[in-house]
């Protein structure tokens, strides 16, 4: 019988206090053996086909940087990266950042992670010009505690964020839940589904241009200070079967959804 090491060779990453970021630049499977407290970025991923199992441990970010940085630097093609099974907490910037500058961050997975207390957003994705961030999945995570950002914040700067899925997540104590927006680029065919979003300073889910053709479905949203779901000046999105209560304002759509708010229930608590 094959051993686990033969089936899936795994490289341990020792816990402790680190002053230099850990760079994962070789494809393979990695796992933490302890908590990591970083003074800067904790882990930077610069290669495709990497699995990072946090193994129940915590990455605590540093004074000036990011917990996990999936770094799609120019020319890079970061795909099939999985980060799973642990906590990313306390970063002074974003907790997890997908950063396809002019490369690719596509087909990656963030799964069953607890992400909390970043200074800005829990997951931040900024496809810059020429960058692609398509077909990623954020699945069954919990996001909490940031006054300055969202659970998941996407802002396209000329790149693409297409066909991504955010599903099954619980979000609480955030300035907003999911924010899909940008200045230029593409933000299409993404799904936000089966999430519970509670107690925000802002909107539960907001969709701004250039978002188009996205699906917001089966979410439960409660007590945002502002809109439960805010679709502004973007077209072809579908908002379906969500349950929104206790909003400070009525759900707002300055441009109609297609179809508009089908089967959604909204009430002020």
């Amino acid at each position: 019988m094959k051993t686990m090491a033969q089936v899936e060779p795994r490289t341990p990453i020792e816990g402790g206090i680190i002053t230099n970021e850990i760079v994962l630049g070789v494809a393979g499977s990695y796992y933490l053996t302890g908590n990591i407290n970083a003074t800067g970025t904790a882990i930077r991923i610069v290669k495709e086909n990497i699995t990072l199992d946090l193994n129940g441990f915590s990455l605590t970010g540093g004074a000036t940087d990011i917990g996990v940085h999936v770094d799609g630097r120019p020319g890079a093609a970061l795909g099939n990266v999985t980060v799973k099974n642990g906590r990313v907490t306390g970063s002074s910037d974003q907790a997890v950042q997908f950063d396809p500058v002019s490369g690719q961050c596509s087909g990656n997975v963030i799964r069953e992670c607890t992400v909390s207390e970043p200074f800005f957003s829990c997951i931040y994705i900024v496809p810059a010009s020429g960058g692609q961030c398509d077909g990623n999945t954020i699945d069954r995570c919990t996001f909490s505690r940031t006054d300055n950002g969202s659970a998941v914040s996407v802002f396209t700067l000329g790149g693409s964020f297409n066909g991504n899925v955010i599903r099954g997540c619980a979000m609480t104590d955030l300035s907003s839940g999911v924010s899909l927006s940008g200045s230029t680029g593409e933000l299409r065919n993404c799904t936000v589904a089966d999430c519970v979003i509670e107690t925000m300073g802002g909107s539960g889910i907001n969709i701004f241009p250039p978002a188009h053709g996205n699906l917001i479905k089966n979410n439960v949203i409660r007590s945002p200070t502002d809109q439960g779901i805010w679709v502004a000046s973007s077209t072809g999105n579908r908002v379906e079967n969500n349950h929104i209560t206790g909003t400070g304002e009525s759900p707002d759509s300055t441009t109609a959804c297609d179809p508009p708010m089908r089967a959604s229930v909204c009430s002020k608590g």
């Binding site: 053996t33 302890g34 441990f57 979000m171 104590d173 409660r222």
Partner: protein, 301 residues
């Protein structure tokens, strides 16, 4: 136990048996932290009190903890309890645990006066043979909001409900999601939404509920909840006088759509203050017009 520093611990592969108190108890003093603790692949058996117990008292933050792949059995009180007594319990995760033969509640998320319990995930747990509720979200003076109960299999909840959401003493139990659970053979109710103060904005969807001796889904005075796409099956062996889905007259603004209830004396009893899809009772091939073709129709047999 593996640990790197205080407040960030992993307990893995432990067995705790025959405790005169709790299996695991995390109860810091006032203003303490209970954060980033993981209990995994462990067994807790035969405890006199709670199996795994996190207590967020006054000023305590109980967040981002994880209980996964554990077996908890034969406990004298709640198997796994996260109690926001007067502090904050949030963003904790309970996953893939098997809880059985519990003299109390299977999974309890509680909040007392000034406390809160929010944004927690309970998923893929097997809960069997509890003396009261399988899962209880109880806000008594605080709030128990925005939690997720998903993919759980709950059977033989004695005395109360498979899953109960309840509020009292000016508390709120709002915006929680219960989905894709299988609930069977509860003594009284499959799911109970009990509003004694505030119980609103919760969603119960895609669940399979075999009614107990009383009611499959009972909404007691609660408002603005959504009961959608559940299948409630009345089993005469467990109560021929049962009701499938029941919202009391004091309930209002609930939405009851796309459910099926079969085999009860009364399949649907919905408050006139609620909104519900048409009740389709016919047999045979469905019509392509009228109530049978309505997208929100509830089906009753």
């Amino acid at each position: 136990m593996r640990s790197a520093d205080a407040g960030q611990c992993v307990f893995e592969g432990l067995t705790v048996q025959r405790s005169a108190n709790n299996g695991f108890l995390f109860k810091p003093s006032a203003s303490g932290l209970l954060e980033s603790i993981a209990i995994r692949d462990s067994v807790v058996a035969r405890t006199a009190k709670q199996g795994i117990f996190f207590v967020a008292g006054p000023g305590v933050s109980c967040r981002q903890n994880e209980i996964a792949d554990c077996i908890v059995t034969e406990t004298g009180d709640t198997a796994i309890e996260i109690n926001g007594t007067a502090g904050v319990a949030a963003a904790n995760r309970i996953a893939r645990c098997a809880l059985s033969f519990v003299n109390g509640v299977g999974v309890g998320l509680y909040s007392g006066t000034g406390g809160t319990n929010r944004g927690n995930l309970v998923e893929s747990c097997q809960i069997y043979e509890t003396s009261t509720n399988g899962v209880l979200l109880s806000a008594d003076g605080g709030s128990c909001n925005g939690n997720v109960i998903r993919h759980c299999n709950i059977s033989h909840a004695g005395g109360f409900a498979g899953i109960q959401l309840t509020s009292k003493n000016s508390a709120r139990c709002d915006g929680n999601l219960i989905e894709e659970c299988s609930i069977s053979e509860s003594d009284l109710w499959g799911v109970l939404l009990l509003n004694q103060a505030g119980c609103a904005g919760n969603v119960l969807r895609d669940n399979m509920i075999q009614s107990g001796t009383n009611i499959g889904v009972r909404v007691e005075g609660a408002t603005a909840n959504r009961i959608e796409n559940n299948h409630v099956h009345g089993e005469t062996a467990f109560g021929i006088n049962s009701t499938g889905i029941f919202t009391t007259p004091a309930s209002s603004s609930n939405l009851v759509v796309r459910n099926s209830a079969i085999g009860h004396t009364i399949n649907f009893s919905i408050s006139a203050n609620d909104t519900f899809g048409p009740l389709v009772t016919g047999s045979g091939q469905l019509m392509t017009t009228g109530a049978e073709a309505h997208p929100a129709a509830n089906f009753s047999q």
